[in-house]
């Protein structure tokens, strides 16, 4: 059994090979190895440097709009109350209120500040739902850097609004036709670009996935979500949350919320994956539920793969969860038993999408709707009045058309 102290140490820093337990590492072409070392060195050099932190904190406050509120969802809470009026108290960490509408901007902003200090003039990124692409295009516009976004053709179709936003801010959106034209294929194409242009280009990877040091860097740049949640919990009820709930595709919003509480043994950490049409069908993205250990996009983690070791295309109604891999730290937390991972279907997510809209006047991203949907399963299991914080990781404007197509055939 791993002690809390072990967990604390292990999650503070991956080991020298960039591993969380056996997960992580750097499985990339040799061409990229020096760039990964350079990035790691820059990260360690600047992350605690006063001028870097001052610039980052100012921008997080005045440009992004942080801190994001911790909102008590009164009608959602009432919805899950027992007949006697008791029940879980549900709070939403409002990352959807950030500039550009999702948590993704925290990491994109911090990484672009790093890129600038590293002297890189060109930035690339991959995107699924487009939120990371929009965040990257935004910060590149803000700092006058060239920006190329790789996006699967299928995702470009279902996220046309975000494609337009990226182009409006001056980014070049590069369609990726390979595979099923989704996030996996866009990520592979972004890595190929980086292999080719590594000397002039910074790759703003958008999740806690990819080769070391990305899972560590992206986590640390999103850790602000959990840090704020702790302070806001203290202020609102003088304690810690009892349960943290977040959706997991690659897993960046979940790790951002969890990181601050990983060593707080009283806090349950729950990640919700996309079960698509069901985990017993071939159309899902439930990597931690159904995957086997493998290597994709530079890291060892759980992975959806067939009996020949070929990566299987994932499926979810949510473009941001449509990924066959998952961040290595999530695999580690799962194997340790520190975090729990469940999955909900497209149908359950669509129901939650409408439920939150109607009960709270908040239209969540389809990704976020997966976390909301798990309340249906979780709340009836709970005793007393535990405080649940759900990471409301993004807003649903981008998904309205997708949902309309399903609801209004």
């Amino acid at each position: 059994m791993v002690s809390i102290q072990d967990i604390k140490t292990a999650t503070v820093q991956p080991d020298s090979l960039g591993r969380f337990g056996k997960f992580g590492g750097k499985y990339v072409p040799e061409t990229l190895m020096p760039a990964l070392s350079e990035l790691e060195a820059a990260f360690h050099q600047y992350r605690n440097e006063p001028s870097f932190q001052a610039e980052l904190q100012n921008l997080l406050r005045d440009y992004v709009g942080r801190p994001s509120p911790l909102y008590f969802a009164e009608r959602l809470t009432t919805n899950y109350a027992r007949p006697d009026g008791t029940g879980p108290q549900i709070y939403l960490k409002r990352e959807d209120l950030n500039h550009t509408g999702a948590h993704k901007i925290n990491n994109a902003l911090a990484q672009v500040l790093l890129a600038k200090r590293m002297g890189k003039q060109r930035v690339i990124a991959e995107t699924g739902a487009g939120q990371h692409g929009v965040a990257t295009a935004t910060v590149c516009a803000r700092f006058g850097l060239r920006c190329v976004i790789y996006m699967g053709v299928h995702d470009m179709e279902r996220q046309a609004l975000n494609v337009f936003r990226m182009k409006l801010m001056g980014a070049e959106v590069h369609p990726v036709e390979a595979g099923t034209g989704t996030l996996k294929d866009a990520t592979s194409e972004a890595i190929r670009d980086w292999v080719t242009n590594v000397e002039t280009t910074h790759y703003i990877l958008g999740s806690v996935a990819g080769p070391h040091p990305y899972p560590m860097i992206v986590r640390d740049f999103h850790a602000v979500i959990g840090v704020e949640t702790r302070a806001q919990s203290q202020e609102k009820w003088g304690g810690l949350p009892d349960i943290l709930l977040a959706c997991v595709g690659g897993g960046s919003n979940a790790i951002g919320l969890f990181n601050e509480f990983v060593h707080e043994s009283s806090v349950r950490l729950i990640g919700v994956e996309a079960a698509g049409e069901g985990v017993d069908t071939e159309k899902h993205a439930a990597t931690l539920t159904k995957g086997k250990i493998g290597v994709l996009h530079g890291a060892m983690s759980y992975l959806l793969q067939d009996d020949d070791g070929q990566v299987i295309e994932a499926h979810s109604i949510s473009a941001g969860l449509d990924y066959p891999g998952v961040g290595p730290e999530h695999s580690y937390l799962k194997d340790l038993g520190r975090a729990e991972y469940y999955s909900v279907t497209d149908k359950q997510a669509l129901d939650a999408f409408q439920r939150l809209s109607q009960l709270e006047g908040i239209i969540p991203a389809l990704e976020t709707a997966h976390a909301i949907a798990y309340l249906e399963t979780l709340c009836p299991q709970l005793k007393g009045n535990p405080r649940i914080v759900i990471n409301c990781s993004g807003r649903g404007d981008k998904d309205v058309q997708t949902v309309a197509k399903v609801l209004i055939p």
């Binding site: 750097k26 061409t31 190895m33 592979s188 996009h297």
Partner: protein, 275 residues
């Protein structure tokens, strides 16, 4: 069949730069792959690199990526490729080097994978997404199966890394000639010459140069710069992807002969024609 190292030694004694064609297994089908291997072997290939089709070939450009996708759509599986090799390898002189990404190895387990490929007669392994830091277990285990793991050096590699990679690489050192993925390039950069010189100053192991070489003149240039082997991939894969079945194999045969002639010293060519 001799090891890659031993075969290189023979070529060195004859002052012959080696030709290493690359093709993707299962594109357009495994029967054609088998025939292409025999043709390459008869027409000047000293080693042959055989790509195992993979769903996410990060280090490959559009030509080889598309070939892998086609091969996978045809249902090509590693076990079928090895079955084919088991039949073909005994009829060939050129040792076979498998080019595979790491996940298919990890998926089967390193030992099981090595056992299978060794049984099929494979002699070497190139794993483009397994840098030195992650390669130790594979290298050590492979040695006990008589498989040599060839490591890659890139134009971005530091002097320290070049030295460490050169120490660990077996069979030869695979020098990636471009900062980029596999594919046809109009020109081979002059810096390849310096990279060969840098590598030569730290190792006496053979140096094979690949990525981007697609024409006899380029192969000749790389040989002149002192490479022990020239690796040509996308240009072969492209020829196997176009035309009727007969035309494809004829194109491969002719191209292989042209490349071999371009890297063969005149004295050896005369010996060849006198036979």
């Amino acid at each position: 069949m001799t090891s890659i190292s031993a075969h290189f030694q023979t070529l060195r004694d004859r002052q012959q730069c080696a030709l290493i064609p690359f093709i993707t297994a299962g594109d357009p089908n495994l029967k054609t792959t088998a025939e292409a291997l025999r043709i390459l072997d008869r027409n000047g290939a000293d080693f042959i690199e055989l790509g195992i089709p993979y769903s996410d070939p990060l280090a490959d450009g559009p030509v080889i990526q598309a070939a892998a996708t086609r091969a996978l759509q045809k249902g090509t599986k590693l076990e079928q490729v090895l079955e084919m090799l088991e039949a073909v390898i005994p009829t060939m002189k050129a040792p076979i080097i498998l080019f595979t990404y790491y996940n298919p190895i990890l998926h089967r387990g390193i030992k099981t994978f090595l056992l299978k490929i060794a049984a099929a007669g494979v002699r070497g392994l190139v794993v483009p997404d397994l840098p030195l830091e992650e390669a130790e277990e594979l290298i050590q285990t492979a040695a006990s199966f008589g498989i040599e793991v060839i490591l890659l050096v890139a134009p971005t590699s530091s002097k320290d890394r070049i030295l460490a990679i050169a120490r660990q690489s077996q069979g030869f050192i695979y020098l990636v000639s471009v900062t980029g993925v596999t594919g046809i390039r109009a020109q081979i950069q002059d810096r390849v010459k310096d990279l060969i010189t840098d590598l030569r100053s730290v190792t006496d192991k053979p140096i094979g140069v690949g990525f981007g070489i697609s024409a006899p003149e380029q192969a000749h240039q790389v040989m002149e710069w002192g490479a022990d082997a020239v690796i040509v991939g996308s240009a072969f894969v492209k020829r196997l992807a176009e035309g009727s079945p007969t035309e494809r194999l004829q194109a491969v045969e002719k191209f292989c002969q042209e490349l071999k002639a371009a890297i063969t010293p005149v004295s050896l060519q005369q010996v060849g024609s006198a036979k």
